[in-house]
Symmetry: C2
Subunit: 499 residues, 2 copies
Amino acid sequence: MDNRLARIGVEQLKGRVISAEEAAAWIKDGMTLGLSGFTQAGDAKAVPLALAKRAEKETFKVNVYTGASLGSNIDTVFAQAGIVNKRLPFQSDPVMRRKINEGAMLYTDHHLSHTAEWIRDGVLGPVDFAIIEAISITKDGMIIPTTSVGNSPIFAQYAKNVIVEINTEQPERLYRLHDIYDTGKHEGRLPIPLTHVADRIGTTGIPVDVEKIRGIVFTDQIDSPSMIVPPDSETEAIASHLLELMRSEIRAGRLTEKLAPIQSGVGSVANSALHGLIDSEFHDLEMYSEVLQDAVFDLIDADKLRFASGSAITLSKEKMAQVYSNFGKYEDKIVLRPQEITNHPGIIRRLGLIAVNTALEFDIYGNVNSTHVSGTKMMNGIGGSGDFARNSRLSIFVTKATVKDGKISSVVPFVSHVDHTEHDVHVLITEFGYADLRGLAPRERAGLIIEKCADPAYRDQLRAYYEEALTRGGHTPHVLEKAFSWHQRLAEEGSMREQ
Amino acid sequence: MDNRLARIGVEQLKGRVISAEEAAAWIKDGMTLGLSGFTQAGDAKAVPLALAKRAEKETFKVNVYTGASLGSNIDTVFAQAGIVNKRLPFQSDPVMRRKINEGAMLYTDHHLSHTAEWIRDGVLGPVDFAIIEAISITKDGMIIPTTSVGNSPIFAQYAKNVIVEINTEQPERLYRLHDIYDTGKHEGRLPIPLTHVADRIGTTGIPVDVEKIRGIVFTDQIDSPSMIVPPDSETEAIASHLLELMRSEIRAGRLTEKLAPIQSGVGSVANSALHGLIDSEFHDLEMYSEVLQDAVFDLIDADKLRFASGSAITLSKEKMAQVYSNFGKYEDKIVLRPQEITNHPGIIRRLGLIAVNTALEFDIYGNVNSTHVSGTKMMNGIGGSGDFARNSRLSIFVTKATVKDGKISSVVPFVSHVDHTEHDVHVLITEFGYADLRGLAPRERAGLIIEKCADPAYRDQLRAYYEEALTRGGHTPHVLEKAFSWHQRLAEEGSMREQ
Ligand SMILES: CC(C)(COP(=O)(O)OP(=O)(O)OC[C@H]1O[C@@H](n2cnc3c(N)ncnc32)[C@H](O)[C@@H]1OP(=O)(O)O)[C@@H](O)C(=O)NCCC(=O)NCCS
Ligand SMILES: CC(C)(COP(=O)(O)OP(=O)(O)OC[C@H]1O[C@@H](n2cnc3c(N)ncnc32)[C@H](O)[C@@H]1OP(=O)(O)O)[C@@H](O)C(=O)NCCC(=O)NCCS
């Protein structure tokens, strides 16, 4: 007997093993798919790739909902094949990004904590097929996910049909890593009982109506590794300002050396910032975050991190090999939860997180743009940054002060798109320093942001804008006709710098 | 014996009765005051007014923190006297608004659910004097607030000194109306046990260290009545579109005729919208809101409303007389809570509210400006609108499609300030119709917003902008150099209309 069948605990399901192509053939034009996958981790791989292959001979379109971004080239081939009508709630693929910005496909980026609510409430319409990567199906009919949980529980619960991809290359030791909690419908909803990052409040797998499992596909393709951008002098400076901020919070009696549970956003800047903790005096750290990147495991290795709760594990090639060959070292220190729980506003608020997310640009009053290059071109999406920034005890945004060889200033008079309003942005950090904006009125913020965060090469220009704005008056002074002049100059002259 | 002393349950406090002038004399230049008061209800009146009087002879400035806006002319005289260094978290006074926009005083508008956290965490610095209006102090040393709770519990708990204004004209029957719950510090915080709008989870009064009560002042000035703007044909049309939306949600199986608990924002438009429910088929309604305005009591009278939870009761003159002379009819149907609880993201999400708030303007992609006229001049503040819009099951923004005799379109190419991003705005309603934006990509939203919500007199202009924007491409197409041209035209020519 195929000993992979031992992974299927429910007898009646053993006859439902099919090929990826057979499963993909069930999917019809106009359907909505709910795919497992969060930041390249735990994505269903075989069926989506077989589906894209069908597009060589057929014309069809589907809606693709996921946890967050996919790896394994899926968004790339989906975009190239032109089979996506609407993508939701997050992606970060360069090819798909181009299609979105050309208007060739629809994209709804969504607070990552909100999608499950909209599925449950029927706002997003029915999910025809949930396609979930798993390490196994248990005897009592639970799907054990792999390296991410994301939206898989809600997809499995609400989809009309479920396809399970059992990935035999994903480490079986991931079993018992997951904690699946369902809030249920609004009516009669109880408080979510989680009060510490390490609490287990749910089941070890995704409960599912096994009758809905129409097919099981065996796969063995591992997750795409993440690209680790090594720290550079700017990200190191950002990390050291972050440490300075923490120390100042401790001196003010607002934090202890244990800090508070940390959330760290996606991207290389946030990862470097987290890395900065390794050689610091801080200890007994806890994380309550979305994605557990390399830095999290480095912190465990350095005996700095007590516990990390996330929705996915996304690692570089080297780190992946190291972590999974030695998983016993980590398994008691990690839990993976549905993104509705990792990003839940009530839990984030209750735990009092320190949130570190990344801005593309911010303005002199502290509004942050994390998504739209020059106000129009989508980079990735808001992801969970809104969930965390709004509800955390301390909401920090980091970015380099300039990009593209200094041609673009990340500090601008008026952000070209707002993802996070001034209210949700407590501290801004660039390589030049940090601006603590808490409690400050707009006119107090402007000077601080310009002098602490902007690149010196842009400070005069910013000061000139602000001074002119002051002559116009108002609570938040602006010169509206010049508000986007920096972005226009960039478009016309290739640089935001005045000649 | 002065029978007012019976209102002071703690023997040792009876000797601390002083005049408002004596109490006001304790306040020194540079101090921070935490005043009771929320939307003109339950504000400390005598001591603040005595303090403003001192400014006739003395120069000093204080920081003034409250629940929300004050009545009784306090913000007016404070602004005129020039004694406010910084005001936080909300105000709506025309004189103060002018000073803020002139830069003559600082104003930090703040999500109303956040201020208590910042006091507790020490982010806002110490509060020197809490000045709290009360109906009495109980034997066990609890302050019983009057017509609002707001931030009074957190001020009383964290202030160095407390002054209590016992207002003998506020109805004593308010006793047992309040439910005071304290989340405590982040460390070790438990889930807030509230699961239904009517749940009582705390104490009937504000627990306070009686040693901190330095003075008690007797007063008898009633709350300022609210100005009720009668519905007009536009607000009636908005109300009827709101009912249509509810009916369509019921048809889709997303709501029942009981609806879901409703939050209704401040302002005349939101009040009229609520009023529209009176003659509707909906029944057994519940509210979980900030301010309970006239419409709430009208709904109780009409036997439509089962229960209303709020942080303040703000009524017109006529309604105030009627409600308080007949309070037995209402007292079992109402509870007042701290604004940290009425506006708590976790509770709002748990209960699955329907939120109705007001926009000044919104743009073709659904971003909302509720605070800044032409991007610079503060109107009131964000108040609780962000708490509710982000976390509700259904987040609705209402506004008239034009104001100032059609010279200003409330639908613009690009909002001049963002309070609520596209993610937090589910449905937009004007007198012309509603646009349901849930799940839509930006390019799907633009057409819908223009055709359903904009005044027909502005639709061609909006279509022309959007069409030009499409030629530039992007996920969220814009013509940046024209984004604020409508606001510029208004400033230069007195109207947004193209000639
Ligand atoms: C904002 C975000 C794109 C930054 O990513 P990052 O990898 O940390 O940052 P980088 O500095 O490498 O920037 C990424 C790219 O954006 C470019 N960029 C940065 N700021 C820019 C700006 N103001 N204008 C134009 N381009 C900009 C960089 O040059 C870089 O381009 P490249 O790929 O061509 O080199 C990313 O963090 C993100 O998508 N955030 C939103 C979602 C989120 O925060 N999730 C967190 C919850 S987990
Ligand atoms: C947005 C807000 C000001 C609207 O108030 P409202 O009383 O319902 O609405 P109105 O239509 O009467 O508008 C108020 C004023 O703003 C003006 N206005 C409205 N839209 C405008 C615009 N786009 N540009 C300039 N002025 C505008 C109106 O003309 C009116 O002016 P007036 O006082 O000179 O007549 C008010 O709801 C608010 O402050 N909201 C933010 C706080 C909040 O939402 N709290 C809710 C949680 S409780």
